[in-house]
Amino acid sequence: MELMEKRNFNLIYSLIGLAILIAIPIFEPSKYVMHILILVLLNVVLGQSWNLLGGFGGQISFGHAAMYGIGAYTSTLLYLKVGLSPWIGMVLGGLLASLYATILGYITFRLRGPYFALSTLASAEVIRLVAQNWDTFTGGDDGLSIHFEIASRVVEYYIILGVVVGTILVMYAISVSRMGYYLSAMREDEDASRAIGIDVTKLKVLTLAISAFFAGIGGSFFASYQLYFNPHVVMTVHTSMQMIFVSIVGGMGTIVGPVIGALLLVPIAEIFRVISPAANLLIYGLVIVVVMRFMPEGIIGLRKKFLRK
């Protein structure tokens, strides 16, 4: 968990990777390959989002699906009812998710660790129930659909790629800033953090809000890309658990961790999709168990241990 060091951020590798990603559409890969890439990139954003709060800040949330879902509903409803461009809607989706998270944060700031985690879960469930029952507005169990493709797959690809770059830049900036240091302290010990002058409450709320923003953007993008979703797809605890998977597997508290996690999540989903969606979730669950039991620092942690020898 050494995110704070101004480490050689492997800038060269990142730039090469980015260049490759930008160039890919030139080779006109199949729609399916583009789909996979888009899913991976989306999950990188979601993983970074959860990771900011959970990995950097040490606050476990089981309720990120609510922020994801709020993003999805916001941009879609604005598009369907008012005709607002989904890309502007995406930003608004992020902001609304942030608002939700800010309120949640101020309500739950006093809660430590597991209690906080549980209240994020409870809160997310309330939101899901609202989405399910308020049919006239949200479409209830049936969800919402958009009937025309909003943009070509290539355009969608570049949009999510842009979001990924933006997200990682923000995360990096935080990690080397004062806030990043405070987050590490808060993760280690809240009382000790207070004793050295850190306003832990404000920090928690701020981190929640930023984390939620990216989750919301992710949700909006998903809605505009898949063109259909319902509460069971975007707002259940399983969605939250997938974000947790992405963050934990690669290495909680690092920036490259969620990238690795996303690269694992999507192929697993695709391979096991033929059996059943339950098979994916089973794998994710098992992996989380194995990771937490044997390598809580994720794949990055393993690599570090390897290198020390």
Partner: protein, 292 residues
Amino acid sequence: MPKFEILLQAIVNGILIGSIYGLIAIGLTIIFGVMRVINMIHGDLIMLGMYLAYWFVVLIGGGELPPLLVALPVFFFIGCLIFRTLVSPVAKAGGEMGTLLITAGLSLAVTNFVQLIWKADYRSTPAQLVSTSYSFAGLSVSSALLFAFFTSAILVIAVSIFLMFTETGRAIRATAQDQEAAMFMGVNIEKMMLIAFGIGVALAGTAGVLLTPIFYVYPYVGFVYIVKAFVVVVLGGMGSIVGAALGGILLGVTEQLGTLFISAGYKDAFGLIIFVLVLLFRPSGLFGRSRL
């Protein structure tokens, strides 16, 4: 304003079903009280108890009692296994967060494993377990609910006696109160936590058996109950058995009344809102951090 009988019926049903909630919550609160672990898989253990009863009755036959008697030792053993292999090592290394995540991951795995092998279909009560209704005083009470109530009551009393009057029970309570002090007094902390976890899980599995005649059985049913269990535990006070028992009944009644007065769709929301409210205003619950 509904008729008095309807109101009373709701309250009675609430109390009966609340007893099961209490049973579930007590298991959870024991685990939390003794080792500060929030057992995210608790709900799925309930679900497994439901499937146990279901398959038992469908394949072997008989009533509710045999699976109940089987569930107690089987789930105790499962609990010990989970504790030994997963919870204990992670608790030592990673503290509260680690156990939270590993039990959450296990829950995800178990629910989906069950879905794979037994499919997601809602299974309705097997014929042997369908309950009859007794009526008196204008109320109708299902036999299954009555059976659940009495079984829960017996189990709660048995556990309480165990904790208060046996040497092991006292050692467990000492561990819950002050681990270091208990260690100095020669208590084998690890073993006490193991037993406590086993008991907690046994209660969950048993609650599942009791629930089989009352609700549909399906892989994700555990989630519904674990959320309720958390509400009850927080309401009654983490670590308080009395609190969990009474909190369970309170939740049961609130839900029934809420369905009556407001709406059925939001039934589950009541508990959640209570949960957040309690956490906000009286985080120590109705009975505070009382010891076991």
